[in-house]
Symmetry: C2
Subunit: 359 residues, 2 copies
DNA sequence: CTGTTAGCGCTTTCAG
DNA sequence: CTGAAAGCGCTAACAG
C-alpha cells in the first residue's frame, strides 16, 4: 500500500514544482503563467505580479528540457574554439561565456583541435541540442560543416577574422549564390596586422627580417600575406627568411625555432613570431644563448599574451582585442537570436602595435 | 491552401526524424526502438539489428531535450572551476572534457571566480539542467552549496584535493551524520606537497626560506601548513618569512612580490612561490634586477606549468598531475553515473618534485 | 488579454 | 521479450 502522498496515482511524478502548480495556485491558466514569466505578449500587469509572487513563493523554476522540447530551442549557445592551450582562445571563451551567461544563456564549449572533421563532428553533436546560437572561430570551415550550419538555421557569429577585401565582397553579393558569403563576424584584419608589424620593424631599420610561425592556421597565413606585401613594397622580401612550422605553438618551440634561425641565418636582424608564446620562448632562448635582444636581433610577437610585458626585454607585440571580440560577438549573437539585424554584420575591432624594448 | 505535405495537419511538426518514424519503418513499436537503440534490457538481436539499420538509413538522431524530459536526466556533466586564467584549471577542464565527451557526455563549464555565492548560483543553474554528474574543484563549499548538491542527488566528484588525514576520517564514518563526510575526490595531498618542497629547499642548505603565495585558496593554505610543519621540524620556522597576498596570481604579481621580498629581507636565501606563474614572474624580475638565481636566492614554484622548463634558469617546481586528475575524476564520475561504486573513492595521484636549476 | 487544447519526442510503467 | 498508453513540463496555435 502506497502512502497517501500519491493521491492522483500519477504515472510518474517528479516532485518538481511545475508551471501548472503555479497556475493553480494563482488561479490562472498555465499559458498565462508561461507568458507572464517570460514577459511575452501583453499580460495584465496585475496578473504578472500575482504570478510572479506565487511562483517564487512556491519556488518554481522552469525546466529547460521541457522548454526546449516544446519550443524547439534551447538556451544553449555553442562556442567552438581550436584549442584550450592557447591563452588567446581561453580569453575569447571567457569573455563570450560571461556575456552570454549574463543574458541567461548556457555556453557549451567544443574544442576542435584545428581538425575539420572534429569540427564537423562537434557541430553535428551540438546542433542536436538545438542551440540558440553558435560562436565559431574563424571563417574557414569544411563544406559539410558549412552545410550543417546553414541547414540548421541556427544563428552564428564567427570569431577573430573578417572576410578579405570587403569591397569586392560587396560586389559579389549581387550575384550571391553560395551561403556564408557574407557571414556575421567580429575580429580584425589579420592581413593588416601582419603588414603593420612588418612596417614597424622596417621603421626600426631592420633589413633581414624573419617571419616565424607555427600552428599555421588561416589567420597566421593571412598575417604572412600582409607581411609579404609590406616587405615587397620595400624590396626586402626574401622567401628564405620565412620559417613555417606546422607544429603547435609553444614556448619550447619558440626557443627551438630561435636557435635554428640564428644558426642558419646569423645575419638576421629581426624576427617576427606569429604568436607571443613563440616569441617569449625565443626571448628566453636568447638569454640562454647569450644573444642580446634587440641589439643583435630584434624580436616581436603577436597577441600580447600574459607575460609578454614581463619578459626581459619586454616584448614588442600586436595587441589583439580578443576579450572584446568575445564580448562583441556574444552581443551580436544575442541580437541575432532575438531576430534583430546587427548594425554591423562584420565588426572590425582593430589591433595595436605595442612597441616595447625587444625591437 | 496548404501543400499536401501536411497530410495529418499536425499541430506543429518539426520535420525531424523521430523515434516513431523509425518504429513505423521497422515495423515495431517505438518502445522497442527506444530500448534497442539504448541497448537496454533484452531485445531480440534480430530486431536490434533491424532497428539499427533502419534508424541510420533514416538518419535518426535522438532528441536530447525529449530524452531529458522523459527520463528526468540529461547527458550533461557540469564542471565548476575557479578560474580560466590559471593554466592549471584549463588543463583540468580539457582532460575532463575529453574523457567525458568520449563517453557521450556534454561538458558544461562554470567559472566560480573563487566566489562562493557565484558558485552557489552556478550550482543552482546547473542543477536545473539535471546534469548526470558534477565535477567540482576543491572540497570547500558553502553550506548551502553542499545542501544543494546533496539534495539534488547528482553524483559528484571533487577535484585537486583530498580530505585531511583519511585514517581518522574512516573512524568518523561509523558515527557519520553529516553529508559529504566522505566525498568522492581525486587529487593529491597538498599538505605533503608543501612539506616536500620545504624539505627540498632545506636539503639544498637553505635557511631563510620565504613562502610566497597569492590567491589564497584552501589548497594554497594546505601547502602552507605542510610547509610550516617541515620548517618547524628543522627549527627554521619564521613567521615573518611568509608573504600571503590575496590578489589573483600572475606573472606580474610574482615580479612585484619578488622585488618587495628582496627589498625587505635581502638575507633571504630561497623563495617558494605557491604557483608557477608567480615564480616565473620572479625569475624574470630577478633578471631585470640583476639578482642571480639560484646563487643569491633560490626560487621554486608549484604546478610545473607551461614554460617553467623554459625559464632561465629552469624552474624547480612541484609537478602536479592535473591532466590525470581531470581524466581520473571523469572516469570516477562515469562509474558513479552508472551506479557503480568506485574502487577508491579518494584517489591520491601524488606529485613530483622537479628539481631544476633555480634551486 | 486569457484560456483551451494539442502536442514537442522520448521513456516508462504495466500488461501481455 | 514486446506493445499500448500515459505522461515528463512546457509552449504554441487557435479561439474567445
Amino acid at each position: 500500500m502506497k502512502t497517501a502522498s500519491s493521491l492522483s496515482r500519477n504515472h510518474r511524478s517528479t516532485g518538481r514544482v511545475t508551471l501548472s502548480d503555479v497556475a493553480k495556485a494563482a488561479g490562472v491558466s498555465s499559458s498565462t503563467v508561461s507568458r507572464a514569466l517570460r514577459g511575452e505578449r501583453a499580460v495584465d500587469p496585475d496578473l504578472v505580479a500575482r504570478v510572479l509572487s506565487v511562483s517564487d513563493k512556491l519556488g518554481y523554476v522552469p525546466d529547460p528540457a521541457a522548454r526546449a522540447l516544446a519550443s524547439q530551442r534551447s538556451n544553449h549557445v555553442t562556442i567552438l574554439i581550436p584549442l584550450l592551450s592557447n591563452t588567446l582562445f581561453v580569453d575569447l571563451l571567457e569573455a563570450a561565456q560571461r556575456t552570454l551567461r549574463s543574458a541567461g544563456f548556457q555556453t557549451l564549449m567544443g574544442v576542435t583541435h584545428y581538425n575539420s572533421s572534429e569540427e564537423e563532428q562537434l557541430m553535428r553533436e551540438q546542433l542536436l541540442h538545438r542551440p540558440a546560437g553558435m560562436l565559431i572561430t574563424g571563417l574557414d570551415h569544411s563544406a559539410s560543416t558549412q552545410k550543417l550550419m546553414a541547414r540548421s538555421n541556427v544563428p552564428c557569429v564567427h570569431l577573430m577574422d573578417l572576410p578579405e577585401n570587403s569591397e569586392s565582397n560587396a560586389a559579389q553579393i549581387a550575384s550571391a549564390n553560395e551561403p556564408l558569403l557574407n557571414p556575421y563576424c567580429v575580429g580584425f584584419r589579420q592581413t593588416d596586422a601582419g603588414e603593420a608589424m612588418a612596417h614597424h620593424l622596417i621603421a626600426k631599420g631592420k633589413k633581414r627580417i624573419v617571419f616565424a610561425a607555427a600552428q599555421l592556421d588561416p589567420r597566421v597565413m593571412q598575417r604572412l600575406n600582409g607581411w609579404r606585401k609590406a616587405l615587397k613594397s620595400k624590396q626586402l622580401y626574401d622567401p628564405t627568411l620565412e620559417w613555417l612550422n606546422p607544429a603547435p605553438s609553444s614556448l619550447a618551440l619558440g626557443g627551438l625555432m630561435f636557435e635554428q634561425i640564428m644558426k642558419q641565418s646569423p645575419a638576421v636582424d629581426a624576427i617576427f613570431f606569429c604568436n607571443d608564446d613563440l616569441a617569449q620562448g625565443a626571448l628566453l632562448a636568447a638569454m640562454r644563448l647569450g644573444i642580446s635582444v634587440p641589439q643583435q636581433v630584434a624580436i616581436a610577437g603577436f597577441n600580447d599574451l600574459t607575460g609578454s610585458d614581463q619578459m626581459w626585454p619586454p616584448l614588442t607585440t600586436v595587441r589583439t582585442p580578443r576579450a572584446k571580440v568575445g564580448e562583441a560577438a556574444a552581443h551580436m549573437l544575442l541580437q541575432l537570436i532575438q531576430g534583430d539585424e546587427p548594425s554591423q554584420p562584420q565588426l572590425d575591432l582593430g589591433f595595436d602595435i605595442v612597441a616595447r624594448q625587444s625591437t
